[in-house]
């Protein structure tokens, strides 16, 4: 029988795919495309691709498209897919790994607001030790350009004493800052 020649995309993506598999501990070759993950995914209706398609694209070497996709940014990590996957693929963790790698490799982010929200959230944790809700809102709104985001619910929150204008500063902020420092060192070491 004549040997099937792997297409160019698949060949070129080999090393990138093995990096993805190594870091996520997810073997995408195991997926036999049953589509159970896509059927149960609560965000595929707003996304360009379903989780099943993301895995298929990885299997066929379309990694550029995966890195630019909305799905890797929209996945909420609810775990429906992994709970139902007959092959036990940890798809939420695969999506996490894909967004981390796509950012590291400089791909344009398909859902900028999600990225800005995450980054703003973590900035408040880095400096105060805990989430600083008012600080997060200020950072997110100014950086995303959605100046009124959350403003419909903020007055109710303040009235019920649920959010404070001030951060919760913990003792041990240095330890928390060290965790962030270690993270940057590990990123730089690669």
């Amino acid at each position: 029988m004549e040997q099937v020649v792997m297409n160019t995309a698949l060949k070129e993506s080999e090393s990138l795919l093995s990096e993805i598999e190594h870091k996520s501990h997810v073997d995408v070759k195991k997926c036999y495309q049953c589509g159970t993950c896509a059927a149960g995914c609560p965000v595929s209706y707003v996304s360009d691709f379903t989780p099943r398609q993301v895995v298929k694209m990885l299997q066929t070497g379309l990694i550029d498209e995966v890195f630019k996709s909305h799905m890797i940014w929209l996945c909420i990590g609810c775990g429906n897919c992994v709970a139902r996957c007959p092959r036990n693929l940890n798809i939420p963790h695969l999506h996490d790994t894909l967004r981390i790698l796509s950012k590291e490799k400089g791909y344009p982010c398909a859902e900028k607001d999600v990225d800005i929200f995450n980054d703003s959230f973590l900035k408040t944790v880095q400096y105060t030790g805990r989430l600083y809700e008012a600080g997060l809102t200020m950072l997110y709104n100014t950086r995303s350009g959605h100046f009124m985001a959350g403003m419909d619910v903020a007055p109710g929150m303040f009235m019920l004493g649920k959010i404070s204008p001030f951060p919760h500063l913990i003792k041990g902020r240095k330890e928390v800052a060290n965790i962030f420092k270690k993270m940057r060192e590990m990123k730089g070491a690669k």
Binding site: K23, P42, V43, Y45, V46, L74, I76, G77, C78, G79, N80, V82, A83, N88, N90, D96, T97, R99, I100, K103, E111, D113, V114, F117, N118, D119, F121, L122, V125, G129, R130, L131, E133, T137, Y140, S144, A149, G150, D152, V153, G156, M157, L160, G161, K162, I163, S164, H168, I170, K171, G172, E175, V176, N178, I179, F180, K181, K182, M183, M186
Partner: protein, 289 residues
């Protein structure tokens, strides 16, 4: 019984009532909640979506402080609980990771303790019998949709808790309180909490799915064991109603609030007056206030 208590950021802010009611019922049950001193944020979804090391480091610090005291950790927020379990697993499966984590937190975390969620704590550790013994007022006539949300039971390989599609433990607690847990299929569907600010429209759709199924199944309220689910489902309920031209006006309680009501605490003591869906009339009608 003594257990380390990790309130997480929500319980000090948007989920204050959950904090109040947890502390009240624990006291009544004779349990000491040892709050982890100077605990830090678990990083929630932003941490695990941004870095592979960061969420493990952040959670390992809290776990290490509890381990030094020889305690497991009660994490009433389903997201915190999930992130803690992931950190325990990562540290225990990867010696190199453990080393890096310990270097960063300046402690020696060994990975000998674990995290439990609020339902697991009440159902498995305290036990239905001990809860039943404290009941002063049966919550009869209350039809409750037990909403576990996603992270309490998923991913099952990590949580190893109850059934990911049709969990029962929360139902059993609700039943013990004298209320009626309804049979419904959306127990573990996601409410979209993680996208609350950056993609609000997703939440409106998901919560509309959840509430319409709860109504169709005959529920008159929801009960959760997660401050993110509770907040999300109540705070955006008005917007959901507007978007889908429906009226739910359905209260979403925390499990410790229902337990607290059955123990005879007033809604105010439990912080139930801090809810976004006003429930005074509801509680009166059900003879709970």
């Amino acid at each position: 019984m003594k257990i380390a208590y990790y309130p997480g950021c929500s319980l000090e802010s948007t989920g204050k009532e959950y904090h109040f009611s947890n502390k009240l019922i624990a006291k009544k049950l004779g349990i000491e909640l040892w709050e982890i001193p100077n605990w830090n944020c678990c990083g929630a979804s932003p941490a695990h979506q941004s870095d592979l090391f960061l969420p493990i480091g952040l959670n390992a610090r809290n776990l290490a402080i509890a381990e030094e005291e020889g305690l497991d950790v009660l994490a009433p927020c389903a997201a915190c609980y999930n992130r803690m379990l992931a950190a325990v697993e990562a540290v225990n499966n990867d010696e190199d990771m453990r080393k890096k984590v310990n270097e960063s937190i300046g402690r020696d975390y060994k990975g000998t303790n674990t995290a439990v969620n609020m339902v697991q704590f009440l159902h498995d550790m305290v036990g239905i019998d001990k809860i039943s013994a404290q009941i002063q007022k049966k919550l009869s006539g209350l039809k409750v949709a037990c909403y576990y949300g996603c992270l309490l039971v998923k991913p099952p390989a990590l949580t190893k808790y109850d059934n990911p599609e049709n969990p029962q433990s929360l139902d059993r607690i609700v039943e013990a309180l004298g209320a009626e847990p309804i049979v419904w299929p959306y127990k573990t569907e996601c409410c979209g909490g993680g996208l609350a600010i950056s993609k609000t429209e997703v939440i409106l759709k998901l919560s509309n799915d959840i509430f319409s199924m709860a109504v169709a199944s005959g529920a008159d309220c929801l009960v959760t064991a997660c401050p993110m689910c509770q907040l999300n489902l109540e705070l955006r309920q008005a917007a959901t109603e507007k978007e889908y031209k429906v009226k739910y006006n359905m209260p979403v309680f925390e499990i410790s609030e229902l337990v607290g009501l059955s123990f005879g605490f007033s809604p105010k003591e439990l912080g139930i007056n801090k809810h976004f869906v006003k429930n005074d009339a509801f509680l009166k009608e059900k003879k709970l206030a």
